[in-house]
Symmetry: D2
Subunit: 366 residues, 4 copies
């Protein structure tokens, strides 16, 4: 029941299995007149592509996207524009390597959705995890690329989205060294160049041991106006929380100061306000740019924790489909730190949520 | 756009302002034939009622609920049953004490939604916070009481919901003393009786200083079957995260091990499985009872952080509605730790989410 | 599943049974800043009130509406305005006269929903038809009154909604005498004063015989701009058709030329266009103001057929709840031509659909 | 805002333009375990394929469908089954012949959506009508084929869907000759073989004149159980009306006796009931199998009127995009009676609505 759709006015429906013929999405409700080319979407997809470093799955997928509808070049001089009709995006799967699935087919991997899919549906496409594979997020990244163009269109390119890994295992970045411009210079999207170096050594060890490790991702949006969101159930933070929690392997989401608010007093937590030239200026941002579910005009800040992948070389106790005791070892191409690949997905999800709320706001409040 | 509705098949729409004539909700999609009396709902409301201890707002609201529709006693022997039509619940506001709002009317309280409501709507019912007041959660608790009766109806009373405060400020409970049966014996819904005693002294100090403090709430459901939920965007954990994040003052949500998964290895995090007499038995529950967005049959466990209320006696810098510098002090009846009153709301939201997914599952999968 | 809600951005949820304590609705998504008083809504309700002529049910319901939320008078000089939060409206039932339901309780009235409610829900509030009673439409009329104020707000009072009965039984109005200004001068909302006189004699005969008769209602909106609606499933005509078909006893809906288009040629049916001073001018309106699901700027015109009520004095064959042969006669206060009371409901539904599409359009297309 | 999606639990999202690279749909919420092959869907598509007789557009589209997701053959002996995940269907466009669009590009065709698309979106894919083309219905037919397999799965193949043209222009079928088994034997899906012969001569004349004519289609479902549907806004007839009205060129929808109920008395209209061996037996079916929005167990019967296509050879007055007077003649491959091609679409839409309600009912009522 809408499980594969998110958003209310900017609605993204994704489809596709890890080892099926293709995956993709349909975007409904996109405003008309937005400049959109295949290359714009491809560039975003290239950022999450498998096989870009030794720290991400070695599956080789070119992830070439095709725009099947919703875009038209009216007069051949202005470039293609969205028409307001649904935008269908298609990505063919190429490197499925799906010959042998013996173990996964009959045994439930601990920490995976194998058992729960069977419990729910009574049937499971076990090839590469089927629908539960992180390959599904390619469609999200493609949709997010469209959302980013809509943001440019609506806000005159003033909105900047950023995301990066701020913790790997127990290793946190040093916020005094934080530099968002460096996230593309290391394989972790880490905004602290020093930390990134240490992490490389660390993760290489984990990778060679056939183990895996968790991570924390931070994602933010700068330049969004105040007044977006809704105050009760469709809060901006509610939707961001849902969007991030829907990413594979995520187990927690924070807005602004997050879990740490538990330890704050009212004096510490309240972000004081001063008059500014373009509206209020806040002296701090514990709120993460959202009060009462509505944006304040400050940067919108979220963080989420990604669990370590359960596909590891150490044997784990499990059961078979028919309920017998078994052990399982997951060989094959996997991610020692799946958190890495969640970074472009986080930006995509944030972009979609922001566009959705921008359109909703315009609808109700003009 | 559906801001005031949550759920897909068990849909709860709430309405009402803090100082308006009344508040309430409409529940649509409730299964027919569920035993439901006014007293069942009233009992739940009594648990979140203001004024029950010195640690919650001293506003005196009897919160008497009236069932206006959706229930019928067919033959006067069996007790009233739901009919499958919408259930409308009404709670009149009584103690509004709304004479004087001078400061709130023209100044934005830091940490409150005053500014953002104005930014969004251009108009704001400032009396007691209007729609952004925690009074709205009375309607949630009433709806949650209905949801709990549906759970009993569907699962033969096997599902047990629990919630309590597990951290107040920097003070965590000691999990070796955890005893859920004691949550009703202290004003914090704290499942650690020793901690509760310390917290009482601590919070009294904060209260007398006119300050406030944050908290962490844990909520869980035992006895839910495996197979509920959905794997992509309507994940069970996605919906739980959204439900908890929608509660006033919540800034973070965790499922199972939560933020701590960042520091785990794949070996530690994977919940191993052994054959059990009623299906799989898991040797741990880092997953919080949810894998791939679908329930495993283990207890479903969530936690969330509640920020300290910003209504404090210490003056804070702010601006007026017209943008001038000002200071504000919030007097009046407020909660030194709003986390306390979030506990019954957490149970209510969890009950609603579980019923919603139970019905969705039955619809798609039979 | 949303059975009791209609609209996407301007969402109306109704609740209440014929003989329960009250009925009402919650309107979510209303734009802020719209002038709205209790009296505006009451005036609309007074138009559909039972007991206004001998041709409508003699039940005596004052239908006094109370606004419970969503409206606020900021500075006591400008009148109350909507705040953008949900508007809850309450109407108490007064004259239920519900002592004796013997026959309805155990026998299924042919042409009524008695049997189908039992087939669906296994339980049925048989008092006065319960939820299936036309009393539910009081809530629609109240919501429609709000929608009409939103239309004034959005379009500067340029939109005019009209509705009337254009056929009663086999008796059609004479379109050469059509005068919409006369609909309030007769008990049928008939825009042909001559026809209205004849219908009065005719319906009096039917009423005295304890019989009933069907009718056709026409509803239109003048002054709506071009460009509202959507082209595929959320067509403006799709939503109008659904809205009208959802009114009790309606069995058919037409847009523009309606069923008659079957007999037209392409030459006859195409509404030719000429340049006008404010955009295109159409030389005819077979399309009923809608092409490809989107408004043309011409009057939006719909018609629908209302079946005769099945509550008649002539005995009809039926069965009892336990499946035995029976006969049934429906005594009590009923409408000889329920189509009459559908007229204000048609205006209300049209207003809600138009507001919903206006907000959707503003959201997607700015 | 969901314009391209219909259904609540069985959700079909279509996409694609007439002259874009492809069209297709995504079906979300399909129950798992349903036997589904590409051939089943292809067979349905072949029934609406263009170019099958001289009375339908001569565009040559093979309409080969590809299943991209949502189906899996677990053990290679039982045939592919749906997995409960979204089913993505793709149909490539082949014969676009889109060289020359001069006239359509700058002039608005009367009776087409050209002007209204521009009024709404400010941009329009004019090639072959873009999204407003009847080619979109290929995706509906594909989705409907899936829905039909779900109906077989749910109801053990007891449900029979039928549709046919019952009126062309002023020429109605003779109901005494009605034989649904003959609909495949003539180019009109006409259930009266004699009428079909006359229509052939008649329509050939119209075709040669470059003119067009309207039609009425009847669609029905036999064998559906009682109790499906909902009583207020999500009525079974409301959803059928919306589904049929959403088909291109449809201007009216009737359920059961339809517009004719206006002329009936309560005595005539009430379908009397007698005890039957499998529940109630109705002595007539004016209700079209639906009372109070819920199915009675009788055949569900709807009819709808399709306007004549406005693409005709006779010049029509119109305006250009820039508002100047003009004349337009539509050459090219068009349908003299588009009603013909609506017949398979009607079956598809009916199947989707029935599955959607079957799942909703199972969800709420078990």
């Amino acid at each position: 029941m809408s499980d594969n759709t998110f958003g209310k006015m900017f609605r993204v429906t994704t489809w596709g299995e890890s080892h099926g013929p293709a995956l993709g999405c349909v975007i409904d409700g996109c405003p008309p007149g937005v400049h959109l080319t295949r290359e714009m979407i491809q560039a975003a997809l290239d950022t999450r592509k498998p096989g870009t470093s030794k720290f991400v799955t070695q599956r080789r997928e070119p992830d070439q996207v095709e725009i099947l509808s919703g875009v038209f070049e009216v007069d051949h001089t202005d470039g293609p524009r969205t028409t307001g009709t649904p935008i269908s995006l298609l990505i063919r799967n190429v490197d499925q390597r799906s010959k042998d699935y013996g173990d996964i087919r009959n045994k439930y991997r601990p920490g995976h959705a194998d058992f729960t899919y069977d419990a729910k549906y009574g049937i499971r496409d076990y090839r590469g995890g089927g629908r539960s594979s992180a390959r599904e997020t390619a469609a999200r990244v493609a949709a997010g690329a469209v959302a980013q163009e809509v943001l440019k269109h609506l806000y005159d390119s003033k909105v900047v989205l950023r995301a990066g890994m701020v913790q790997m295992g127990a290793h946190k970045i040093d916020r005094t060294r934080l530099n968002w411009d460096t996230v593309n210079n290391n394989p972790f999207w880490c905004p602290d160049p020093e930390a990134a170096k240490d992490w490389e050594t660390e993760l290489d060890k984990i990778r060679k041991n056939g183990s895996s490790i968790g991570a924390i991702i931070e994602v933010m949006a700068e330049g969004m106006p105040a007044g977006l969101g809704s105050p009760v159930y469709a809060k901006l933070d509610t939707d961001i929380a849902a969007a991030m929690m829907s990413i594979n392997a995520v187990k927690a989401v924070e807005i602004g100061a997050g879990m740490a608010v538990a330890e704050l007093t009212g004096e510490d937590n309240a972000d004081e306000i001063r008059p500014g030239k373009d509206g209020p200026e806040f002296l701090s941002n514990h709120a993460g740019g959202i009060l009462g579910g509505i944006s304040t005009g400050q940067p919108i800040v979220a963080r989420f924790a990604v669990k370590p992948t359960s596909s590891i070389l150490t044997p784990r106790k499990t059961i078979t489909k028919s309920g017998e005791e078994a052990e399982i070892v997951t060989k094959g191409r996997h991610d020692p730190c799946v958190g890495i690949r969640a970074v472009p997905v986080a930006i995509a999800m944030m972009a979609c949520v922001l566009v959705d709320h921008a359109l909703q706001h315009r609808g109700q409040c003009g």
